[in-house]
Assembly symmetry: C2
DNA sequence: CAAGGTAAGTTTCGTTTTGGAACTATGGCA
DNA sequence: TGCCATAGTTCCAAAACGAAACTTACCTTG
């Protein structure tokens, strides 16, 4: 089965995961909730590679979770900001955070 | 950056995602919450391939989210059941479900 | 007892996706 | 003119994945 088929699955969890269920995407959204909006910020914060980030941002814009807004015309530069639809993922991030705090104690510090 | 490094990340969301942040894992857990516990059930329900399921189940057991319990000794057969730690992922699944219900309407039915 | 069925994986192989790093484009600034 | 910043894109090798066949171990049915 192809992962992309999940967007029409009968199960609403599966449909949600067709958008945020891959590696990195929820981490980008976490950064958005922390106030970040730019390509280089996401790169620095998450540690993901540049072309994966470019791909994920494109998908998130296509699915209406993020909006790509120009903040400079010359040169062309864009902010990626949460739409209302994206904002409503906050409860999901919060439950994942709470679970991590409770069940995933840190064993050693990391710089990232 | 390696994805596995996230288990020691400063951010609790990232640490949670180091376990459930890949494709398929949350879908397996959804099935667990629906009462499923066996290999063939997960295969039939999710549509994922057998060796990917085997890999995900092993990881989930290693991380203490599922427990592998023998339900037959001859031949050896196992149930995969949620631990307390796994049970506590319910709120996360519910928020993802709610978001899907609200923001991911079904366009056409699928058999899966 | 041989044939077929069930459950739970494992192996193989060809295709995709990913990580890492370098490269490109556009303009600002010294 | 040369260097810096932002936001990507391209290239290649490595890892992950999908599909399907194969394996192991037992059970049932003829």
């Amino acid at each position: 089965m192809k992962w992309s088929d999940l967007s029409d699955n009968w199960c609403p969890v599966a449909r949600t995961l067709s958008i945020v269920g891959d590696r990195w995407t929820l981490l980008i959204l976490r950064d958005c909730f922390l106030g970040m909006s730019r390509f280089e910020q996401f790169i620095e914060s998450s540690g993901m590679t540049r072309h994966i980030l470019a791909d994920r941002l494109k998908r998130l814009v296509e699915s209406g979770v993020l909006e790509r807004k120009a903040y400079s015309t010359t040169p062309k530069r864009y902010d990626y900001v949460l739409t209302d639809k994206g904002q409503e993922l906050a409860p999901a991030l919060l439950t994942l955070r709470d679970w991590g705090k409770k069940h995933m104690p840190v064993r050693r510090a990391t710089s990232a």
